[in-house]
Symmetry: C2
Subunit: 209 residues, 2 copies
């Protein structure tokens, strides 16, 4: 296997279904690796260190940034979030694709990085903004002020939709999952992504018939 | 609908399953239009004019070429084959994709044409050359000499695999059909292929919440 793993970037405003879709893709394809972000924000109830996030201190986070160990990072609502580089590069060498749940800032930095040629970026739009707000309220986690802040951030996020390779409107989770699977299946079939093909065709042409 | 239809080019050596796959794609997606080639070769038993080919005379064929009415054309085994341009342009305007069953010469000419930016090209490889020869013989249509000629042409065709966007090895028809569907589904979700998205996002951002 001399295929290089892809970097699949999934972005969307909060509440558009991105986390559910990411989880479904991971369930569908066991070879897919999820990029667990590092963050300086405190864990929410139920969040597990190393699974949902790598919870870390601002000092440790900045040291990783200074050492070039973050593929991308950004400050959101006063907390730092970043994608550690080493596990992504290890997955790429193993021919495994990595799934990133990052915002437009993360997407821009990964595309602009030395690994940018291996990126497939997907933006998930909500069917409507009132629907998005309804989904945020249905979580029952946040105050009105926090929800208002999230909706402002959502508009900011949506304004970057045109920077992505693929854009999906998530008006039906099953259909959107089906489309995401199709995108991954197709991207892996692109000629330049199939490292072993050259050898296969060479052997094919040398066959006696 | 202001989406422009795609030109889906399917190439492969004869006997690799291309015609079966094209038929299955047409059955799957009623909006897909098959580009019926014009040809100067006589009909084989069971072939219907206007459905399998537009059977035409060399004179009428060359007149279409001179008038720029062929998107591509080539001579194969002494007969002329070509793809009439007008129905393709009509389908594009209607937002319908057109499926082309053409060889590498046709693929090159369509990609190099003014419509080349709308092309998605797919090459289907056989799992092996002895298997390809076995499939050609199983048809029971051709003499040994004709089969030897087809095998030479197959090697010539395969040598052009690296000119295509996607490459599939057809070792299982159902799986290859599934992959072709994924490629069409994904290509239609590419941002630049969704003409109506800009308006959708504009309307989304103007919504009161």
């Amino acid at each position: 296997m001399d295929r290089t793993g892809l970097l699949i970037i999934l972005s969307s405003p909060s509440g558009a279904g991105k986390s559910t879709l990411a989880r479904r893709l991971m369930d569908w394809d066991a070879s897919l690796r999820f990029s667990v972000s590092a963050t300086t924000r405190p864990p929410r109830p139920g969040e597990v260190d190393g699974q949902h996030y790598h919870f870390t201190t601002p000092g440790a986070f900045l040291q990783m940034v200074e050492q070039g160990q973050m593929l991308e990072y950004a400050e959101v609502f006063g907390n730092l979030y970043g994608s550690p580089r080493a596990p992504v590069e290890a997955a790429m060498r193993d021919g495994r694709d990595t799934l990133f749940d990052v915002d437009w800032q993360g997407g821009q930095q990964i595309r602009a990085s030395a690994l940018g040629g291996h990126v497939v970026s997907i933006f998930v739009l909500p069917p409507s903004l009132p629907e998005l707000e309804r989904r945020l309220r249905a979580r029952g986690q946040d105050s009105d002020a926090v929800i208002a802040g999230r909706m402002r951030k959502s508009r900011d996020e949506i304004s970057h939709w045109a920077e992505y390779h693929y854009v999906l409107v998530n008006d039906d989770l099953d259909e959107t999952e089906h489309r995401l699977r199709a995108i991954l299946t197709a991207e892996r079939l692109r000629r330049e992504r199939q490292g072993e093909l050259g050898r296969f065709v060479k052997a094919l042409m040398e066959e006696e018939t």
